[in-house]
């Protein structure tokens, strides 16, 4: 099978620029274009300051690409998996930006962007993408390879597991500390160009809020 490199692809797609935001690990914001590739990308691996940096990074990514909101054709949101508090900041920002700019939201699984990056960098065959889920747990997704268009084929996950219990232990594993919004955006461009479905508009927390329903009041007298 001949696998074309994704960036060589040309479809009869007029091309539209996308703003992409991912806060499933650190914070990453990019402006991408099917023809022109990644026009700008800003990334920080800091996992404690998503809310602080998101606005300036969106502004700067647009400015560096010399793109106004009106010229975008959509806003890509990395839906995770990711630790909830940070993940939500990016999804909230993407949704609000899409609403403000009057553009559609494009949800994408964050791990798929990591896989795309690995395959674009030359990896072939199966791959296990792993990211930190905090509380001594990991998020994982398994890929069989890429399709003829170069789009990663997810065969398992995303899932959540303790380090010793991550499945597909036999696959070549890549532990990602950051997720590139540029790759996230490019993946969205290709999925769109080839009429493939996006992810669901649902944050991938993969964990329920850890609370237990109340069992009635506790006694205060012994």
């Amino acid at each position: 099978m001949v696998v074309e490199k994704p960036w060589c692809l040309r479809a009869d797609y007029a091309g539209g620029m996308l703003l992409a935001i991912d806060t499933s690990a650190g914070t990453s914001v990019a402006v991408v274009d099917l023809e022109g590739g990644v026009l700008s990308e800003l990334t920080t691996v800091d996992t404690m300051r998503h809310a602080e940096v998101i606005g300036g990074m969106v502004r700067d990514a647009l400015a560096q690409a010399s793109v106004t909101p009106a010229r975008l054709s959509g806003v890509v949101a990395g839906m995770g998996p990711g630790p909830f508090t940070g993940l939500r900041v990016g999804i909230a920002a993407a949704k609000a930006f899409a609403l403000g700019a009057g553009k559609p939201l494009v949800p994408i699984v964050s791990h798929d962007a990591v896989a795309l990056e690995r395959y674009s960098a030359g990896h072939t065959g199966p791959l296990l993408v792993v990211t930190d889920a905090r509380r001594r747990e990991l998020y994982w997704s398994a890929y069989g390879g890429v399709d003829v268009l170069g789009i990663p084929l997810r065969s398992g996950g995303p899932g959540l597991a303790k380090p010793a219990e991550v499945p597909h232990a036999d696959l070549p594993r890549y532990d990602a500390a950051s997720v590139s919004a540029g790759q996230l955006g490019l993946l969205a461009e290709w999925l769109y160009a080839h009429r493939r479905p996006f992810a669901e508009d649902r944050p991938l927390y993969l964990r329920s809020p850890d609370v237990t329903p109340s069992t009635g009041p506790k006694r205060v007298t012994a």
């Binding site: 935001i21 914070t27 914001v29 990308e41 800003l42 990334t43 920080t44 800091d46 300051r49 998503h50 809310a51 602080e52 940096v53 998101i54 606005g55 300036g56 990074m57 969106v58 502004r59 700067d60 647009l62 400015a63 106004t68 909101p69 909830f84 508090t85 939500r88 900041v89 990016g90 999804i91 909230a92 920002a93 993407a94 949704k95 609000a96 930006f97 899409a98 609403l99 403000g100 700019a101 944050p203 927390y205 809020p209 850890d210 609370v211 237990t212 329903p213 109340s214 009635g216 009041p217 006694r219 205060v220 007298t221």
Partner: protein, 530 residues
């Protein structure tokens, strides 16, 4: 590549405009040379500009320590007796762009040109800077001519633009209105209500609230993660509904406002992230404001959408909800709020919720206790009044404590149950409610008397309590204190009060917050805006 933003420091206060002095020369020059890389003025030119009596230069300065002070400047030249004025230069540091500072600087220069009796204001702008051209056009500048190859060595044309003074009535009023009565959208996500409000000055246009209260019922109290998840889901539909109800378009907004604290950190971050992105998408200034001061601001609004009113000041404010029990001395809504005291353990609403569980009543407990207490005897059981003993009144005069009360109620109920006796739920509820309300008002009235402030304002969800309202009326009447209670839809957490507070900050001339602030779960009330 790593973003500059990632290394940005902690939130800093918004910039203030003031007249430039010679002492600002170095700061101005460093901004000038970094902004106008190829065609910056020389220090000598700038010095003579600053010195000239025909010049009027403003700097935008960030207060506080550490970060460089001057983040923007702009200059006007208006020769005495001449009918022409020129905008000489304007620059805003990259870190604070897209936050409305350029517009504030321009408006201040135009005001000055009018004061100097100019009839026309001119400026030149690079042909390759559409953002700046849009700003000037929105202020009423029209393109007059093109000066080819004006900017060297870049070889870029200059567009000459002109504003005729006085500004057209329509434009002028649009701009004065946008300062005196700005159209603001407020986002509130500090607890379990996703609140989106839209106001024009003090007129309420929309107040839409999505509450996740039902989802917390099975846990017997607000679960932060459940609340935060619900905010993310509710955000977009709630904004859309508020915009529709207000009958506006998002593009018409003058500013976006958001609660940045105090509150649940994860919940606040949903609102902050969304507000920042919305502000950038719409190119609107963003105001990060204090939730508790917002509760005071609720009194500006008429819940039915009528013209709002000024808050009579100074006032004491008693804010009581599931998350807060705070007593404030408000001298200026926009600039001077003092925390007199707050709860040292549970909030009053939380105490209602916990005692309701003890009595086997569902969540939220406040309304349930209120309902049951209606038929009970408030003097049946003498429950303790927290922090009201003389020694406590010396040290914790305006502070509250409700956890001891909750335990006392639980103990009393358990004793009855252990003895196999029926629990007189109505009497327990009425006596507990009386204890809470008595302490709340005793301390609030003491603050009014001590501070010689004959006004008391109530806010927060617990204000729904019938006995709070009744006793507040009785005791303020007796003490000759004017009582104000906003409509209940404005007392519980909502976005309209956040928008209303930001509108007052705008009218008072405060610059926007920029984009670098975070959520601060313990933001003090003295930080009215970040």
């Amino acid at each position: 590549m790593t973003a500059d933003a990632a290394s940005a420091s902690a939130p800093v206060p918004p910039p203030v405009l003031r007249r430039a002095t010679m002492a600002d020369l170095d700061a101005i020059m460093s901004l000038e040379t970094s902004t106008f890389v190829t065609d910056a003025w020389s220090p000598a030119m700038m010095r003579s500009e600053l010195r000239s009596e025909h010049s009027y230069y403003l700097v935008a300065e960030r207060a506080g320590s550490g970060e460089p002070g001057v983040v923007g400047y702009a200059g006007l030249r208006a020769v005495n007796g001449s009918t022409d004025a020129d905008i000489q230069t304007i620059a805003v540091a990259p870190a604070v762009r897209r936050a409305g500072l350029g517009r504030s600087l321009m408006l201040a220069l135009i005001d000055e040109a009018e004061r100097r009796d100019a009839r026309e204001v001119f400026l030149e702008v690079r042909a390759d800077n559409p953002g700046a051209q849009r700003l000037y056009a929105s202020l009423g500048f029209e393109q007059l001519a093109v000066r080819p190859h004006y900017y060297q060595p870049d070889d870029v044309d200059a567009l000459v633009m002109r504003l005729t003074l006085p500004m057209q009535d329509a434009l002028r009023s649009a701009h004065t209105n946008s300062r005196a009565e700005p159209l603001v959208l407020g986002i509130e996500t500090s607890c379990d209500e996703t609140g989106i409000g839209i106001v024009r000055g003090t007129r309420l246009l929309a107040n839409v609230i999505a509450s996740s209260m039902d989802e917390h019922a099975r846990y017997g109290g607000v679960v932060p993660e459940v609340a935060a998840r619900a905010h993310l889901e509710a955000l977009e539909p709630t904004i859309t509904e508020a915009v529709a109800r207000a009958g506006i378009r998002l593009e018409e907004l003058d500013a976006i406002a958001v609660t940045c604290g105090p509150g649940l950190a994860g919940a606040l971050m949903v609102g902050v992230g969304a507000a920042k992105a919305l502000a950038v998408a719409l190119d609107k200034p963003l105001y990060g404001v204090n939730h508790l001061v917002g509760h005071v601001g609720a009194d500006l609004l008429d819940a039915d959408g009528g013209q709002g009113r000024e808050i009579e000041l100074p006032t004491i404010a008693l804010l009581v909800s599931g998350g807060h029990t705070s007593l404030l001395h408000v001298r200026s809504l926009t600039d001077d709020v003092e925390l007199l005291g707050e709860t040292i353990d549970d909030a009053a609403g939380e105490a209602f919720d916990k005692v309701a569980r003890v009595l086997g009543l569902p969540y939220p407990g406040g309304p349930q206790i209120d309902r049951v207490a209606a038929t009970g005897d408030p003097n049946a059981i003498r429950f303790p009044r927290g922090l009201t003993l003389p020694k406590d009144m010396a040290k914790h005069r305006y502070d509250f404590s409700f956890s001891g009360l909750k335990t006392a109620v639980a103990r009393w109920v358990e004793k009855r149950e252990d003895a196999g006796e029926p629990v007189p739920v109505a009497d327990v509820a009425a006596s507990f409610r009386e204890a809470v309300v008595d302490v709340l008002l005793r301390k609030a009235i003491a603050a009014c008397v001590d501070r010689e402030v004959p006004r008391l304002l109530l806010g927060g969800g617990v204000v729904a309590n019938a006995r709070v309202r009744q006793l507040a009326k009785e005791r303020t009447d007796a003490a000759g204190i004017a009582l104000r209670i906003p409509a209940l839809s404005l007392c519980t957490d909502n976005g309209a009060m956040i928008a209303a507070l930001a509108a007052q900050r705008i009218a008072a001339g405060h610059a926007p917050s920029g984009l670098d602030f975070g959520a601060d779960s313990t933001l003090p009330v003295t930080d009215i805006q970040v």
